[in-house]
Subunit: 490 residues, 2 copies
């Protein structure tokens, strides 16, 4: 069986302030309405049944991953059927791929893994699927790791390259020419990139690669024996009650190492397929120039923008009016709580902005003012001394945990939909413009019994209004025991 | 008696988005904490008793003018004692000065008017007052209009100039040299401005001038006879019951004409005083470079700004984080609902932005999200289909009108202070976190009986939520009968 493995990490830095630490690039809708991650899953579905799509995510991105994929057709259990594998900690790319290989080998010793990033843009889809099929058939018959190389379109210095060796004949599986790989080259200097572009001896390294689980594990045994013994220790627990703990132990002990550095650069059984597709690693806001429509002055405009004598700029407005005059070559990105204004040439320094925000412990580095939860979402619309106001949206048939707060009272007013509120031993229904007081230390819960979203305005009063003032008694989303690094409330 | 006449018009265009049509430049605090208008009044007080300070404002700026001056010591009546003269319509500068002259002549035939803008910066104050005193003494003894000319500091092309004629001796009144005026020159070209600067034959026209009411009215008789007859018709009504109607008639019929164009350019009795003061007509955000502190990279920064590799820029943040990278020579001004990003060289085109917003009937051209009222202020913090949320702040001992709404119900939660709420025949006190429902068509009123500001969160629900859904039964601020062009609510 073939499995699509989507690597969905991400620090949320390069697209700040659209992205945040808790909301990295794969959740953004840079093209169309769906998130990049959703686009990646959709691209795979004609070739891989949902059950054979694995998404590797960190704990802090689990719920947003589920949310962004919630419109996928549900499996027979009524649940999302791509397997969302939550990594207990981040250990770069090799340990999670070793682990995925072990799981897949257990299910199917001949299983094939097709590894890709969650946030690339690839077209046309049919061509991509044909190449992916060729790749899978090739690795079923050959003990190799087959990487997708992209014939360079320009002397790009922002990508790694793959040096083509002698050709190999995989013609019976498809039409793309394949080669032995003689070398992986890190991001080259300009003259080197120009030479590569002229000589046609190198391909861009797309970061996509395909292999049989057993072949990959064998390469790990050869080049990362310590990691291999951790995998072996894990393998025996798969499907047993100690599996969960074994995974945690595995991540605790695994080295922090990339698949390129740990395997690819050593292995002698790596091939590459010259893949004639339009592949884009959307690495910064500048990439929007490639993938978006422009006005007659070369601007990419979104939102409520008034651009006077402004040229060659990327302006992403939100609700606010953004007015520009006489600007050129700028990137302006506005969100509820933060605005970025950068020259196109200096965008890589956005990481300095994020790092300064983190140094100041500013929430703008971490998350948006709108926070998504399994039951819906909330937005902080105002806050001041001893009060905070949220607009809370509860999805139909969803409910928050049964909870209480030690330091704040809450007051709820319904502005849309119907709420069923539990308050200590009482249960009441609230309609539009009805309200209720939730005193400190009262047990309470909101449920939306209706068919349309329930919207309430929550006015909090108290001496301490942080999200971690919460004691949960019951929760539909298993958030009682779970480690809660972000102090998640509601 | 000497009277200070402050001309406080303004379209709110050049400092958009800090200024708005309802909140023009004189209300901004560009230097220090007080508004420019307040600074102008303060500057006069050592020489002019408050009762002799007149402020000429349009109807739409009346309440904000009172608010910005509310910290002035109150007169014996307990009211603000500068005379705030509300012009029923805008007719440029000559008609209001003709009218003020008529009123002052009626009170005091020898009365002197000292005319100035509301939004200039002048220092040092003692020097200014000495010059103003010299000017008043001079016009008491001479039938002239004495203008304040400023010896040019640079070959400025943004100001009008005054050509100095033969000197006149006013030495007994003060030390500044005075001259006949031979010509007023509109904003000159660069070479002309450079010649003026080199030859020292011209002074900047500061727009400040001093005259006796009778002398000014006589010049109006000579050069604007039609306007003079309107003034004569008005004069006989001053102090009678028909005064109010006569003022309205005067404004309806008066020509729309500036004092420069209508009088100064014709009159043969204009003198100028070479005034060695630091005078600034803060004409655009660029002026902030002159009056503000800079960081080591030449930036003027205010608010929550992270500036990476950014130079020579003016960045006015608000609450939101503003991050800039690699920018140079930009002006960035952020407010709750609108952000401007302009090159310093193109700032004059901000009027095109405002005009485009007006064309789209966008509220961002007209006012800020925080709206001031005689009793306090409110901010719209969120709105959506069928609901609107305001944070309402009521000053101590102030109350809103007794009112009702036909299309919306309201729900109030106190977050700070104590409220006394009238609801039909009931009266209740609400403390922090207490709330009340105000149904549609219920008569209601909020009063702050306490010593600290009362803050309430108001959640409005209804099919129509505009500000003009209000019926007032009683109001402390005479807003029941008054024409209400902005659809003022609360």
């Amino acid at each position: 069986m073939w499995h699509g493995i989507i690597m969905a990490g991400g620090s949320g830095t390069r697209f700040w302030p659209l992205s945040r630490e808790l909301y990295p690039k794969q959740f953004l809708s840079l093209v169309g309405e769906k998130s990049l991650l959703h686009g990646t899953v959709n691209r795979l579905l004609p070739l891989f049944p949902q059950e054979q799509v694995w998404i590797m995510v960190g704990t802090k991105h689990e719920s947003e991953t589920k949310r962004t994929l919630s419109s996928l057709p549900k499996g027979s259990s009524g649940q999302l059927s791509p397997r969302i594998f939550v990594e207990p900690q981040s250990k770069n790319t090799l340990p999670p791929l070793a682990l995925a290989s072990a799981f897949i080998k257990k299910m199917d010793p001949e299983g094939v893994l097709c590894v890709m990033a969650s946030d690339h843009l690839i077209s046309p889809e049919e061509k991509f699927l044909a190449l992916m099929k060729q790749a899978c058939l090739t690795v079923e018959q050959n003990d190799v790791i087959l990487t997708f190389g992209i014939p360079p379109k320009r002397p790009e210095t922002g990508f790694g390259y793959i040096e083509k060796g002698s050709p190999v004949d995989t013609g019976k599986f498809g039409q793309a020419p394949c080669f032995h790989v003689t070398k992986f080259v890190e991001k080259p200097s300009r003259p080197v990139a120009e030479a590569f572009f002229k000589d046609k001896t190198h391909l861009w390294n797309s970061g996509m690669f395909v292999f049989r689980a057993t072949v990959f594990l064998e390469e790990i045994r050869k080049y990362q024996p310590k990691l291999h013994s951790l995998v072996e220790a894990l393998e025996v627990t798969i499907g047993t009650p100690s599996e969960e703990q074994a995974i945690r132990d595995f991540y605790t002990q695994a080295p922090n190492i990339s698949v390129d550095y740990g395997i690819m650069e050593h292995s002698t059984c790596v091939w590459t397929m010259a893949s004639e597709i339009d592949w884009k690693d959307v690495g910064s806001f500048n990439a929007l120039d490639e993938i978006s429509d422009h006005d007659e002055k070369g601007n990419v405009l979104r939102g409520n923008v008034i651009a006077i004598d402004s040229e060659d700029s990327i302006i992403f407005g939100d609700k606010r009016v953004i007015a520009t005059i006489g600007i050129k070559n700028l990137v302006i990105v506005d969100t509820d709580d933060a605005t970025l204004i950068s020259t196109k040439d200096d965008l890589q320094k956005v990481r300095e902005v994020v790092s300064e925000l983190k140094g100041k412990k500013r929430v703008e580095a971490l998350e948006h003012r709108t926070t998504h939860r399994p039951w819906g979402h909330y937005t902080i619309i105002d806050q001041g001394p001893h009060y905070k106001i949220k607009r809370v949206t509860v999805n139909p048939d969803a409910r928050l945990s049964l909870q209480m707060h030690l330091h704040r009272s809450e007051h709820w007013v319904v502005t849309s939909g119907t709420a069923r509120v539990t308050l200590d031993d009482q249960e009441v229904y609230l309609h539009v413009n009805q309200s209720i007081d939730i005193p400190k230390t009262a047990r309470h819960r909101i449920y939306n019994p209706g068919k349309v979203p329930l919207v309430i305005i929550e006015v909090q009063n108290g001496e301490y209004l942080e999200e971690d003032d919460i004691i949960r008694f019951q929760d539909d989303y298993n958030r009682i025991k779970s480690v809660n690094p972000q102090g998640e409330s509601c």
